[in-house]
Symmetry: none
Subunit: 539 residues, 2 copies
């Protein structure tokens, strides 16, 4: 790992019969173009600019004897990128995208630059943990075509999930259409997948496509989170790469990246950016947990070598950044899965559209057949993981969907208060169903919202005994807290509040927060939240 | 203007020695790929999808006798774009960016689609009004190189302004650098330009480059606006095109668009997107008031024909969208300005970097020389416009931005309880704004939901004095009531409950209900309701 940002180019000085240029002169032009954007001789009475700002020629290696092709490295001062993704893209290929004979084929990023990025939030390990699937490639099915109703897509999602798909993603062209709304599609598909999971015992994940305008995209993702979704599909070139980085860092959700609109960079082997750099390293830097690309042998034009190089960029060592899944798409059939297996190994997501849909009446069976084949091909490598080890998708959301209406007789008009801070008809519960986030000495009473009341909010009473605390966590949904018993501490971000009876507190979206009791008596409070809400994640 | 979105392609079936394909078959594949993404025969038992969603072949014209090149038109239903820019980009060139033999050469957009976009806020006329300059091209000087201090750049800006430049823009590589901060640069450069304007009587505009990460870009533009800046430079491909559209529509500022990273679309005449479409029509749709492109004869490779076609896309009729300035950059010298003049006419922005900087000690004189030449070349067309006629930048827009967030000043994280049953920052209000339904001796505190909290519920505290009562009413929305003070009566339909502190009550949808106080002390309770709710009517 260097302290500079080293970019490797392949340069063909004679491109399209142009007169051959001196390679050193050409490389110097690139070094100037991508930094100061003035030719030599402009302002270089300030020698500092030449030594600190302009990229330095590190290596020139001829790739043939005729001087037709060179591999060259320029070293950039990481400071020129300002440690932000948009300006990094500019340094990578901004103005030289207009030069016909330059291709970016490799990048080596400095540690201080990489530290400015989170990369994938889940990565391969995190996604496997959520799914409870190890030792084999994941099977990703695609909901399409555009034009189907939300109900038809949900029916398809159900079949995929019952057939054992690990991931079901929207086609990247499914947006909030006049003929099929985003909210309708996402709620029905997610519901269908949750219902199928209840039957299969699997934890199939549904990834809706959240491509939309800037004003709406946060709302799209929040809607998905409230419905228990834990990953999304997004095409970085449609919405901007930095928008994706931002969404990944704020919502800490699984990001599956689609390469729409990027093909022009890969069109000419003498020009552009190598797929392993753009869809591999750069998308991983941006935060992609899974990067989709056209599989060798599919209807587009990547070579097997390029697919492997791309996979390596996603999975190989890259400073502190987690490894991401390569997701080859296209051209996968039952009878070439063994080739896929030996080519990509276990850590890949097979993204399969057409092959599962050929026979609309038998989607479940096609999915089962693919899964069986994949499982058989990797049977020697699969660890057995019991379902209890699996970190599940927000269990309370699933609970809601399943019990909606079913417990209607538990709706009371009046729940008298009992002197011991309990309520008639509302027994105390565990604070959380799992212990993925630490907490201590805390109980929960669901007063309103979980018994079929039909409100858009839930009212709960929590009680923290002396020395206890809630999880230190954050989430998109808001808390309103009203203290009614004893005294406690509420931390919100950097703020710390003492709560006494009838104090009201508001925890804004995504702010890390925790409640604790440092007193010698119980501390009790109402906590009111949106009924549909996202799952907390560590602060 | 059609009711469909018509995209014109040039297709070369024999690209790179590939076996020739039937042009109709190829075009049908594009029509499927850009919409439903499944081949013929998948789901077309639903004929609606084929007729409503899949693009329709409108025209196929051979461009040579050998069948080597065709110009074809596909008609898309505007609904597939969902009337948003990211999905429009996807329909335009998302997946087919991976096809080697397709080039988008024209678009014809439907009125209903165009109505969803504002386009340029200022446009040519708006910018001329701000500048008070008519009848000749504008002169835009560029601040560079990266690595100069803010003070040195400001000194340069001053010279450009004193020399008469109409616009001074940051080089697009100038961001918030460790060695030259955005705020330092923008405040000094703007100050220098304002000071120069006071001397010259001109209204030279300074456009800072606002490229930065998503979290910071709003702050960058707001900082610029607070300093009196009325336009910015931004590279749409670095930050995302829809981010630019969003910024233009929110801040209503002059947008000068830079083409960094777009060159790969223009690299091959048989592939990609024609510059006149991407940097012309699409950037104008996005909201560019000025679109920079590599001038014919400069160091990059646009032909004069392409530059003219691009200029036409920016300036020609385009439904209700205002005309935008073409801004050729590169290769402009004093002795070819007459060629520029006859090529582009008066409505262009000459973007001049190197030629003004060659002699660092004489920037002002170089600028004056260019302006004199431009003025002389267009002397016959210039109207005289007094500076007092100029409509300046909207001052209220600045005002709005300064007070944005004002709504959120009232969101408190902590509202301590006061001993008299009130809360800090939440004064009591009338129970109801009108007396259409009777009530008596009752007050209301809005605690959560009416101050910008973003919850889906409101939390209120009501207090009924002895002898008082709420309206006897009903509504679809639900009440959750938690008594915290004294004792009262709740009637729900035929039921009657005594409420004492911490009793919880639930009023189901449409049940007539009323609260009252028959005791001799105040009766107080929280009432939680959906934020969006219906109006009560008499029970």
């Amino acid at each position: 790992m260097s302290t500079s940002i080293d970019i490797t180019y392949e340069i063909t000085p004679h491109h399209r019969g142009q007169q051959g240029q001196d390679i050193e002169k050409l490389l110097r032009e690139i070094a100037l173009e991508q930094t100061v954007e003035v030719p030599d001789g402009f302002f270089f009475d300030q020698p500092d600019i030449n030594t600190r700002i302009v990229a330095i020629i590190k290596d020139i290696v001829p790739l043939d004897k005729a001087g037709g092709r060179y591999r060259c490295i320029l070293s950039y001062n990481p400071e020129v990128t300002a440690y932000q993704l948009p300006q990094f893209l500019n340094v990578l290929f901004g103005n030289i995208s207009f030069m016909d004979n330059v291709r970016v084929v490799g990048i080596d990023l400095s540690n201080d630059f990489l530290r400015a990025f989170n990369g994938p939030v889940y990565g391969i390990e995190g996604i496997r943990k959520v799914l409870g699937v190890y030792g084999r490639p994941l099977l990703c099915a695609v909901l399409k075509p555009m034009g189907l109703s939300a109900a038809a897509l949900a029916q398809m999602a159900s079949e995929f999930a019952l057939g054992g798909a690990d991931i079901i993603k929207d086609d990247h062209g499914l947006v909030d259409h006049p003929f099929c709304s985003y909210e309708g599609r996402v709620s029905l598909c997610q519901q269908a997948v949750v219902a199928a999971n209840a039957k299969t015992g699997h934890n199939t994940l549904y990834f809706p496509n959240i491509v939309d305008s800037v004003e709406k995209i946060d709302g799209r993702i929040q809607f998905a989170l409230r419905h228990g979704v834990s990953g999304v599909l997004i095409a970085p070139y449609l919405v901007g790469l930095d928008t994706v980085r931002y969404l990944a860092s704020v919502y800490r959700i699984i990001i599956m990246a689609h390469p729409a609109l990027t093909g022009a960079y890969f069109h000419d082997p003498d020009h552009g950016i190598r797929p392993s750099v753009l869809l591999g390293s750069v998308f991983r830097l941006m935060g992609a947990d899974i990067s989709i690309f056209p599989n060798a042998g599919g209807r587009f034009n990547f070579t097997p070598e390029e697919c492997l190089s791309l996979s390596h960029s996603l999975r190989g060592s890259f400073s502190q950044l987690k490894a991401a899944f390569p997701a080859p798409a296209g051209g996968m059939k039952l009878d070439n899965l063994h080739e896929m297996a030996s080519m990509y190994g276990a850590d890949a997501v097979y993204t399969i559209g057409g092959s599962l849909l050929k026979d609309a009446s038998d989607i479940r069976k096609s999915t089962e057949a693919f899964l069986e084949k994949i499982t058989a091909l990797f049977s020697h490598t699969q660890r057995q993981v019991s379902i209890t080890q699996v970190v599940n998708q927000s269990s309370c959301d699933i609970h809601v969907i399943e019990s909606a209406g079913g417990l209607f007789e538990d709706v009371f008009e009046h729940m008298p208060f009992c002197a011991d801070f309990s309520w008639t008809g509302r027994p105390p519960r565990l604070y959380k169903d799992d212990d993925s986030l630490p907490f201590r000495h805390i109980t929960r009473h669901e007063l309103i919202g979980r018994y079929g009341e039909g409100t858009r909010f839930d009212v709960r009473y929590f009680q923290i005994e002396p020395g206890g605390y809630s999880s230190f966590e954050r989430h998109v949904h808001i808390h309103v807290i009203i203290c009614i018993r004893g005294e406690g501490i509420l931390i919100i971000g950097d703020n710390r509040y003492a709560l006494r009876p009838f104090d009201v507190a508001y925890v804004p979206p995504l702010k890390p927060h925790q409640l604790s009791n440092g007193s010698s008596a119980p501390f009790g409070f109402f906590c009111i939240v949106d009924h549909k809400r996202d799952k907390p994640f560590p602060a």
